[in-house]
Every structure is written in C-alpha cells, then in structure tokens.
C-alpha cells in the first residue's frame, strides 16, 4: 500500500492553468476525497498521479519515491473512470483478466483465475463473468470497473467520480460498498467528487479544490464546522450557508441598522469584539432557531418540504435567510416570525479576502 505526496505541482493546458502550486499529502490507507466544482482541477490531479499527464512543475512521490519519470504502467496505481471504460470487445472475465495479463506482471494462469475469482466475489459479480460488457447495467459496469482496479492489488486507488453516472439509489448503495471495500482492503484511496454528500460520507479526509488551488484539507467535521473561507463555507453544506454583509462597530455586527444587529458578545464572535469594518457573516441554516422569544424578527418568504425537515426562507428587509426546521413545524406564508442565531456557531469572514476571521490561521 502506499502514501502519496504531491509537492508544488503546477499543470497548464496551453495558456490555461489547471493546477498551481498544489501540495497534497495522502497517508497510507487513507480515504482521501478531493472535492470541488467542475473545472477545479480534480481530474487533472488524478491523471497526474496516474501518469497519464505530466506536470509542468513539482514532484509526485509514491511511498517516498519520485515517480515523475515513471510511465503509467510502472506506477502501479489503479484508476476508475467516470465513464466505466470497460473494454467493449471483451467479456467481464476478460476485462478483469486484462490488467493481470500485462507483461509487467507475468502471472501464471492459476494466479490469474484465482485473482479474478477473488475480485468477482468481493464485488458480487461472479454471475456476470461470462457476459459481454455491453449487456451490463450502469451499476454492474461500474462494479466490474472497480473489480478491474482491485484485481491486481495496486498500491493506491484513484477514482474519478465513479458514481456520478448512476441513479441516486444505486449511488447510495455503491457509496457504502466502496467505503466498506476500502476498509476491508486497507488501501489508499484518492477519490474525486463534486458531490459534497459523497465526500462527507466517505472521506476520512477531504481536500477542497477551487481553481487549481487546494483551499482546505481536513476531516468532514472540520470542513463543515470550520470552513477556512467563504468558498468552502458555501460549497459544503446543503442548503448552502447563509452569507451576508455586515459592519463591525461598537461590539455589534450591523447587518440592517435597527432591525438586524448581532452582538459580538456571543461565544463565536467574542474575540472580534475589538474589530471594526466590513465583514461577511455566515450562519448555517440549522443554526437559525425559530423562537417566539428570539431577538430577531422576519417574515416567512417560502417553505420547502424535504420530508424529515423543512427549509424555511425568512425575509428581513431585503435579506433572505434559509433555516432548517423540523418537518412538523407549522408555518404560514408571509406571517411574521421571531428567530435567533445560534451564537456559538456564527462565522465571520473578511469582506475582501473571504478568509474566516474566527477559525482562520
């Protein structure tokens, strides 16, 4: 198994910069999720590690060894693609055997069939072995394609949004299976996702990538509760964090003079007491508490029913805030309502740089 380390990686495509000065450290046996919007450079990172593209600058280390000059075949990592990319003219068995028949490995026929049988059993695709790949469903295809990765016991697994083409139900099942598989194999996984639920539920560690920069690395708890900047704060979490402009002065954050003012005496904002100037305040939807004795007042602008919970949009002046409340809460459109912010969970960002002023470093 392997530990992967990227140092100062830059990659340009023509004039476009895909990655700039990226540093990434993935420990042995870790499930690392690289999360970011489309075009952030996630797939590029995977391709660089797999050896399908070469970086313009920086070094890639696997197990402490610089592999920049190694070909994809020599790196001994497995890659699962977003589009299943099973070899279409082969059967499932032939697909699974394919990596084992490489000249790099030189295995006996017994070893090959034993490995295929083991991988097929792990992924429960034994009944599909003799089938042509174009006769498989999407979920089966992605299982086979994961099988093709695990069959040769590579040093690390790279997965490029393998579940994004599956329907929601199947995605949920395979998500659990993949996590389970990773635990069982004890293998290093680098998993690329643009879906934050996928990242949160699977990753031991999550790296947030934006425009070729790694913005924050941490556990899902960390990322969710201590976002480093406004990008991470709004990208992770559903509904997205409420973010609005405010001015700090005299121990208060003034959002709307007179009607929406937050004292900085609360636990989270406490050490910003001395600060003055423009900031952005962030509140997660679950940290807006409907409370008839709350200090703030707004009107109910809209209600979305999500089953287990309701997402209420509150209007205060021109400002719209989204709050999550239990589904049984009775709400009437356009009626006035009182609420409070959970002052332990408030976030405050610098208005210009977007850096978190409370947890920033």
């Amino acid at each position: 198994m392997a530990q992967i380390k990227l140092e100062n990686i830059s990659k340009k495509f023509g004039r476009q910069t895909a990655l700039s000065d990226l540093n990434l450290d993935i420990a042995d046996g870790e499930f690392f999720v690289l999360l970011g919007p489309t075009g952030a450079g996630k797939t590029t990172t995977l391709r660089l590690i797999a050896g399908l593209d070469a970086p313009n600058a920086g070094t890639i280390n696997i197990n402490g060894e610089n592999v920049n000059e190694y070909s994809a075949a020599e790196r001994d990592v497995a890659l699962v693609f977003q589009y299943y990319s099973l070899y279409p003219h082969y059967t499932v068995r032939q697909n699974l055997e394919f990596p084992l028949r490489s000249k790099v490995r030189r295995l006996t026929e017994q070893d090959i069939s034993a490995s295929v049988a083991r991988a097929a059993k792990t992924l429960r695709i034994e009944h599909l072995l003799e089938r042509k790949t174009d006769k498989l469903s999407g979920g089966e295809m992605q299982r086979v394609s994961i099988g093709r990765a695990i069959v040769r016991e590579p040093r690390a697994f790279l997965m490029d949004e393998p579940l994004s083409n599956l329907d929601a139900k199947l995605r949920e099942i395979l998500r659990a299976e993949l996590k389970d598989l990773q635990m069982k194999l004890g293998a290093t996984f680098l998993y690329v996702a643009h879906d934050q639920v996928e990242a949160m539920s699977m990753g031991d560690k999550i790296g947030i990538l934006c425009d070729g920069h790694l913005v924050q690395v941490g556990s899902s708890q960390d990322i969710y509760n201590r976002p480093r900047d406004t990008f991470v704060a709004t990208f992770v979490g559903s509904p997205a964090m409420n973010l609005f402009d405010a001015t700090l002065s005299n121990g208060k954050a003034v959002v709307i003079p007179g009607s929406l003012e937050i004292p900085t005496s609360g636990e989270a904002m406490n050490h910003l007491r001395e600060r003055a100037g423009k900031v952005k305040i962030g509140v997660r939807s679950e940290d807006i508490l409907l409370d008839s004795s709350g200090p703030l007042e707004g009107r109910i602008h809209g209600v979305e029913n999500h089953g287990v919970e309701k997402v209420v949009t509150l209007r205060v002046g021109e400002l719209l805030l989204r709050a999550t409340v239990p589904a049984r809460t009775v709400l009437e459109l356009d009626s006035p309502i009182r609420f409070a912010f959970n002052d332990k969970k408030l976030h405050c960002f610098d208005a210009a740089s977007g850096q978190n002023l409370i947890f920033g470093d």
């Binding site: 797999a50 075949a73 070899y87 003219h89």
Partner: protein
C-alpha cells in the same frame, strides 16, 4: 382533400420508382454488356442490333489465357480428333494454339498480369491502411505544433490530379530503376492512398474514447500494446472501410500502371486494352478479361457493403 393528396402521393411514388428503374438500367447496362459479351461466340459479339439471347460459351476465357493464331484452311481431322475439349473449342473458332517445342500450349500474359494486380493492390492496401492507421492515431491522440497544417499538407497531396506528376515521377523512377517493378507500383499506390487513409482513419479513431487506452496504460500496458489490443479491435469497421476504398483505387488504377510498367510488373488494367491492337480484335476476349477483372472488387465490395456505407457516413463527414 385527402383523396387528392393520396393521388398526388401515388403519382410521385410511381415517378420515383420509374426514376430508380431508369437509373438501375443506366448503371447495370454496361455491366451486363461486358458480362454477356464475355460468354458470346465471337460472331455474335458485334452484331447490330446486339444479340440478347444466345448460348453462352466458355471459349472467350480459353482464348484469354492462351496464345493463338488464325488458321489458314481446314483443320486436319486427325489433329481435331486427338485434341482436348478446350483445344477443340479454339479449333472450332478457326484458330489454333501456339505451342512450344515440347507441345505445351503457350500462355497469354493475362494470368501473370492478374497476379501482379493482386500482389500490388493487396500489398499497397495493407501498407496504406497500416501506416494510415498509425499516423491517424498519432494525430488523434497527441497534440503537436502545427498539427492542422500537417493534416492539411497530407490532404494536399491529393489536390492535384495524379497525372500532373506522371512525367516527373516517370523520370525519377527511371533514374532509380523502379520502372516496371512491383515495388515501384506498390510505393506509388501506397502514397496515393495514404492521405485518404489517414483522414478516414482519423475520423474513426477520434470516435473512440481515450479512456479505453488510458485504462490500459494504467493497467500496465505500453502505448503500443494499448494501440494493438484496444484501439485496433475497436476500429475494425474503420479499417475495413478504408481497406476497401484503398483496394479499389489501387486495383482500378490505369494511367500510372500504363506508364510505369510494360511487362514484368504490368497490372491487368493496361494489359486488357493492349490486346486491342494485336492482330484481329476479338471483343469476346477483351470482355472476358474485363469480366474476370471486375469480379474481385465486386465480391469484396459486396461482402463489406455495410462497412462501406458506415465509412462514408461516419468517417468522412464528421468535422
């Protein structure tokens, strides 16, 4: 209203059928003419109006493969009695075989020309498709400076009518001793077909997602292994279509074959009309030579017709 429409519709359909019918006749008539003449007795070959109903015979083909002379006077009954069936056919037509000192019938040049055609067309097709596929793969998968200019350059080799370069080519070939050699024609036809093969194959290879090869690269294969194990099987249709087109071009080529070869490496197309001038013009022999020459391409094309259609609509039109 509905009746009027359907009436017009019916008329239109009839006109379409009639047009197709006329077109079919126009295209098939020469083919029928050549094939029927190939089986006619010589006396019926040039009748006006043309003879449509006749008893087909094999004599033109016997004549095609042998050398004969016109006989003066009657055939010796003893000789006729001892002759094999094929010799009798020729004697019946008032000709006799030219035989060597051992009494073996001398062969006309047709069979060796036909063989030359096969050797040259097959080899040049193989080379053009193989080199074209590799080149197209390179263009399809790797970015390089001036890539489109290179592709245009490759295409531009086809922009002049080939005959324009015939004389310089001939002079060059004479200087290096390639005139009347198999290698000479193979090089020439490969060069003709290569640009076409590159462009057509690029269309096909562009259609194959790169993920397949990349998966193979990561799975422990070299670029070349990935090319042969993944790309080539996937593009079998493209290879088939390109091969048919290249083969037809090389097989039918006339002008350069006429100029660059005269005996040893001569192909069938310049040979067949060369028989026109030698003594009497026996159209049935010419027709039988043409008929045999048509067969390989007809069979080849018929077998691969689905690929051909796909090749035209899928490989060539995109981009």
């Amino acid at each position: 209203m509905a009746a009027v429409t359907s009436k017009g519709q019916r008329l239109w359909n009839r006109m379409l059928v009639a047009t197709v019918f006329v077109l079919v006749i126009v295209f098939l008539a020469p083919l029928y003419w050549i094939s029927s003449t190939a089986f006619k007795p010589r006396s019926l070959a040039t009748t006006v109006p043309p003879t449509v109903v006749f008893e087909p015979e094999i004599t033109p083909f016997i004549k095609l493969f042998t050398r004969r002379v016109q006989m003066r006077g009657e055939v010796d009954p003893e000789v006729y009695e001892e002759a094999e069936w094929y010799e009798k056919r020729v004697l019946d037509a008032g000709e006799r075989f030219i035989k060597d000192a051992d009494g073996n019938i001398e062969s006309s040049g047709y069979w060796s020309r036909f063989l030359n055609s096969i050797i040259i067309a097959v080899t040049s097709t193989f080379l053009a498709v193989a080199m074209g596929t590799l080149t197209a793969y390179g263009f399809s998968r790797f970015r390089m400076p001036g890539e489109n200019d290179w592709l245009f350059f490759i295409l531009s080799t086809r922009m002049l009518p080939p005959v324009v370069v015939a004389i310089p080519m001939f002079l060059m070939y004479r200087a290096v001793g390639l005139v009347d050699t198999h290698v000479g024609l193979i090089i020439l036809y490969t060069a003709f077909n290569l640009s076409f093969s590159v462009w057509l194959m690029k269309g096909f290879i562009d259609e194959i997602p790169t993920e397949y090869e990349e998966a193979a690269l990561v799975d422990g294969y070299t670029r070349m292994e990935a090319f042969f194990k993944i790309v080539v099987p996937q593009t079998a249709t493209g290879v088939a279509a390109t091969a048919v087109f290249c083969f037809i071009t090389a097989w039918n080529e006339y002008a350069f074959a006429l100029m660059m070869t005269n005996s040893k490496a001569q192909t069938a197309p310049p040979y067949i009309p060369s028989q026109l001038g030698s003594g009497i013009t026996d159209w049935t022999v010419i027709a039988s030579g043409t008929f045999l020459f048509l067969l390989p391409v007809a069979v080849f094309t018929f077998l691969l017709r689905k690929h051909l259609l796909r090749g035209v609509t899928f490989g060539a039109i995109r981009k």
